[in-house]
């Protein structure tokens, strides 16, 4: 298998698909539906996918480095899975931060509401008094 290449048609299709992914990510950032800081992992994923698709000997070469015998595309699955896990982990940190911020906001809201209603009550009392 060493020296074998990804079939040309597969390579073209995969490259096209990866480029579409990159394009979609770029469009989402451009239209402000995806923040740059969250898009970084996606851009990285797209670039790696493009590289693996277009570099026709690449998959086999990397499989050779890693000692994967028999079925080089297994490397692709492994890399893909790794990125999915990374993106999910990243989401967990984002969600954690958002929920922490949510708690702070809810608490502040409750504190301010009480302050406001007490101020109002005092104002009304002073107007009447």
């Amino acid at each position: 298998m060493i020296g074998a290449q990804t079939p040309l048609k597969v390579s073209i299709a995969a490259t096209a698909a990866s480029l579409v992914l990159l394009l979609v990510v770029f469009e989402l950032i451009r239209s402000r539906r995806l923040r740059e800081r969250y898009a970084l992992l996606w851009i990285l994923t797209g670039v790696v996918l493009v590289a693996l698709s277009a570099w026709r000997g690449g998959l086999n070469t990397i499989a050779g480095w890693l000692g994967v015998r028999g079925y080089p595309p297994a490397v692709l699955f492994a890399v893909g899975l790794l990125f999915v896990i990374l993106v999910l982990l990243h989401y967990s940190t984002v969600i954690s931060r958002l929920s922490d911020q949510n708690v702070i906001l809810a608490q502040r809201l409750a504190l301010l509401e009480l302050q406001l209603s007490e101020d109002r009550a005092r104002d009304e009392a002073s107007v009447r008094g």
Binding site: Q107, L111, E113
Partner: protein
């Protein structure tokens, strides 16, 4: 002693039936004590009933869980300049007549935080065997971490002075606040004492911890404790 500003923080989630009685008992017991009820996104009349009873109410817009609710009360007490806060639950299991025991050590300046324990005296409360095992396990773990013997790590009946309020207003664990809070207290070199108290069985509603979930609960608490030991502190340790 009466020059000190004191407040009772009462977290309540859907406790429309218990809350009025708790407020009444607190008033009967200590008419000068300020009271703030934290309604943790209650869907029933908890906040309205408490307001009608004439106490201040902090209304959280949605349910934050006990840690987030209690911390709201701590923030209030800290910002309003209270010298001492006592926390007791809105479900009526903490008996206001035990207030002097809990407040005592903090008011006397002997402790920064005093926790009412059901087990120091060894009478009254008899939990089920599985729960007793869990309680003992947690107590052993926390005692080892704290290098100080504690018996009741899940008691929410606590009195705090301003040092403890400052810490908890800035950083309070959300998931298992009593257990993790105890460890935090000791990490920050605050003086913690346990005092024996009697508690009542809940009259309406059920405790948030059912026997069915206790194993899962234990696993989560122990994980939280373990991670908590290595967690970066929001407030530097040197400050306290």
């Amino acid at each position: 002693m009466s020059a000190e500003k004191r407040i009772a923080i009462v977290p309540a989630y859907n406790e429309e039936r218990n809350i009025v009685r708790v407020i009444g008992e607190l008033r009967t017991f200590d008419p000068d004590l300020d009271i703030v009820v934290v309604s943790d996104g209650s869907a029933d009349q908890t906040a309205e009933n408490a307001e009608a009873a004439g106490v201040r109410v902090l209304r959280l817009p949605y349910n934050l869980g006990i840690g987030g609710a209690v911390q709201t009360g701590f923030k209030y007490a800290w910002e309003q300049g209270y010298d001492l806060a006592v926390r007791l639950d809105g479900d009526g299991q903490h008996v206001p007549s035990e207030l002097p025991s809990v407040i005592g050590p903090v008011a006397a300046g002997e402790a920064d935080i005093a926790v009412g324990s059901r087990f120091v005296a060894g009478d009254g409360y008899r939990p089920s065997a599985s729960r007793r095992l869990g309680i003992r396990l947690l107590a052993t773990v926390v005692s080892a971490i704290a290098r100080q013997r504690v018996t009741d790590t899940t008691s929410g009946f606590q009195a705090l002075n301003r040092r403890a309020l400052e810490l908890f207003a800035a950083d309070y664990p959300h998931d298992y606040p009593e257990v993790e809070g105890m460890v935090m207290t000791i990490k920050h070199k605050l003086r913690l004492v346990e005092v024996p108290v009697q508690m009542r069985e809940r009259e309406h509603g059920r405790s948030s911890i059912t026997a069915f979930r206790s194993v899962y609960y234990m696993a989560k608490v122990l994980t939280a404790l373990f991670v908590g030991l290595f967690r970066r502190d929001v407030i530097p340790l040197e400050k306290t």
